[in-house]
């Protein structure tokens, strides 16, 4: 066991996977010699050589397109898109190609690739370094979509993703790279070394894709969140003194509906939190499933808290990013109803 940050956990997942399986290759912009702009691939080139961890041209469609070809050959590429905001040039390769290869070839070809990318805001990245595009991927059948909220999960889920036989989008909330945070921007991020979930086994382990985790047990209201918002939701429940149950989805596609339904059936109330833009965001999917499966148990309308329907602003990001205040107001609203 070691104490790790989320970056170290992600790196460790790739390291363990590369050591176990020669077919795992890692590449992307600045990923090789330098070890990535967030240093999540640091040391991998030195350890595994230039043909297993290397720098690519700045061409996201090239990165994902070649990964698909390598996967067809029999390799297991784990590629990095430098920021989620830059995956759009690769969108055609992801949606029309990676996601459909198994289906359209009736299993003749498969596409076991992992596409990692830093997502989300809270680091003054402005509109081009802060996006949360998960809903774009969950709308695509054939992809899997994972958003970890802590180092322990990040490592176990990334290894599972690399071993998964289908394409997996692995979204890393960059606000959490160095430590969890409670959503109050005036308060510092606490290092993961002070957090239970910063304790990460050195070797191989996996966390099943498609399983949510209850982070805080409660009986008054269910808060469904993922990534950075798990921490914001926990702080909001604490601040508001509400007996909330906080569910960390971890995997958006496939989604652990059972855990959500079980909780909402018990609490009768639900708030869904994400930092991506509200309209057509992933929260809409959760709300719709909750009303479909828990309608007769609901005591209040389900409420969503999300980023506003605007691009992500640079200077006012703390007014954009849902914080414990906004989540707390939503909790109060469903509790009063």
């Amino acid at each position: 066991m070691a104490r790790m940050t989320m970056i170290e956990a992600v790196r460790s997942a790739m390291d363990v996977s590369m050591a176990r399986d020669d077919n795992v290759v890692v590449f992307g912009e600045d990923v090789g010699y330098f070890g990535g702009v967030f240093r999540s691939t640091q040391g991998l080139q030195a350890k595994y050589g230039r043909t297993r961890c290397f720098d690519t041209p700045i061409s996201e469609s090239g990165i994902v397109g070649t990964a698909i070809g390598m996967a067809a050959y029999g390799l297991k590429p784990c590629v990095e898109i430098q920021f989620a905001d830059y995956m759009y040039p690769a969108y055609d390769q992801l949606t029309q190609e990676a996601a459909r290869i198994r289906y359209r070839s009736n299993g003749d070809f498969t596409c076991p690739i992992v596409v990692r990318m830093p997502t989300g805001g809270g680091i003054f990245g402005g509109q081009t370094h802060s996006q949360s595009p998960e809903a774009l991927f969950t709308h695509v059948c054939g992809l899997k979509v994972i958003v970890p909220s802590n180092p322990y999960d990040a490592k176990g889920l990334l290894i599972a993703a690399i071993e998964d036989p289908d394409p997996v989008m692995f979204l890393e909330p960059k606000r959490l790279y160095n430590g969890p945070f409670d959503g109050h921007h005036e308060r510092p991020v606490t290092p993961w070394s002070k957090h239970d979930l910063g304790e990460v086994p050195d070797g191989h382990y996996t966390i099943p894709i498609g399983k949510a985790e209850v982070r805080r047990a409660g009986s008054a209201v269910t808060v469904v969140a993922y990534g950075t918002m798990v921490h914001v939701a926990l702080a909001a429940a604490e601040d508001a003194g509400i007996d909330a149950e906080v569910i960390d989805l971890r995997s958006l596609l496939p989604l652990d509906l059972d855990t959500i339904v079980k909780s909402v059936t018990k609490t009768g109330r639900c708030v869904v939190v994400h930092e991506a833009t509200l309209t057509s965001g992933f929260g809409a999917e959760v709300v719709s499933l909750v009303q479909e499966h828990c309608f007769y148990h609901l005591e209040a309308p389900v409420v969503r808290v999300a980023g506003w329907d605007t691009p992500y602003p640079h200077a006012q990001e703390w007014d954009y990013f849902p914080g414990p205040g906004r989540v707390g107001r939503a909790l109060a609203e469903v509790m009063e109803a």
Partner: protein, 410 residues
Amino acid sequence: MVDSARLSLHVPEPAVRPGGQPDFSNVKIAKAGSVPRPEVDVASEDIRDLAYSIIRVLNREGEAVGPWAGSLSDEALLTGLRNMMKLRAFDARMLMAQRQGKTSFYMQHLGEEAVSCAFRKALEKGDMNFPTYRQAGLLIADDYPMVEMMNQIYSNESDPLRGRQLPIMYSSKEHGFFTISGNLATQYVQAVGWAMASAIKNDSRIAAAWIGDGSTAESDFHSALVFASTYKAPVILNIVNNQWAISTFQGIARGGSGTFAARGLGFGIPALRVDGNDYLAVHAVAYWAAERARRNLGPTLIEYVTYRVGAHSTSDDPSAYRPKTESEAWPLGDPVLRLKKHLIIKGAWSEERHVQAEAEIMDEVIEAQRQAEAHGTLHAGGRPSVRDIFEGVYAEMPPHIRRQRQKAGY
């Protein structure tokens, strides 16, 4: 079956890494004045060599020599020197402001000042640049107020972009500066579209597209070349080859042979390489390309060979991937010092006046900074209203955004 050795993957690597001796022996540099200057209506097939050579005007002694010399008066050159010095001083102050926590981020131009400053002077009012993030010289050389640039960098209450954009992602239609995107290369093909529109409307204005060496790997670069060559768009396609794309050396985007300029040849686009640290050469080549575009002769592709002396951005540490002394070994020198030397040997400038000018310019920059900071910095003083988050997503605010604005308390 061919009896051959097993395959192995070729992954390009730069000649040296940190700790090694800087090595630019692979950069073939033509003698100043040695590259011919063709007529602007030349056929691209007849100047293929220019995509492989380097057009230079200023020689080691500081003299302007050869067929590309003489396009600028002393007065214009002095203005050029001043603009480059201004950009350098601006960078130094803003870099410091970032370190002091007055803004979140900054990107400097150190070593590349000649490219954008000289290029701007080859354009006319009404022409449009589609820049990337290292061409603030286009604004400086067009006398865009530095205070406005700083207001943008500070995201303060007077920020013309209302705190929405990352620092340095300026926008000014009036000054021919299209709004900067953080997503690389997207603007390249947009510039071609703007130029096509100008041709459709029988206008006289031309466009300029900007990209870094690394970003030429993006599909949008190639789409731009297809459209520019097909429609003979009045556009100047600029590639700033500053040797590095963050930590990645230019050989990763280019491979081991050819040049970035040569990418134009397959499209039949006249392609030139120029010494990007030579103010006179940059201006002469840009002017040549602008004339071609204006005479409806179509696009020109220009590769500026230069070196990124500073870090990629304030988030980067170049000593982790290249020798610390590499910038000093760069064989094309420093653009400011080269132009200064030229003006001194011409008798139009002196060491004393240079020192004095440096001080004056720094005062001017500091005064602009004082004014900007009176409107606030990112974390202190006046800032755009939260209300501004919701404005301008659409021309007219739709009801769902109005509801969200009210929910936010504005």
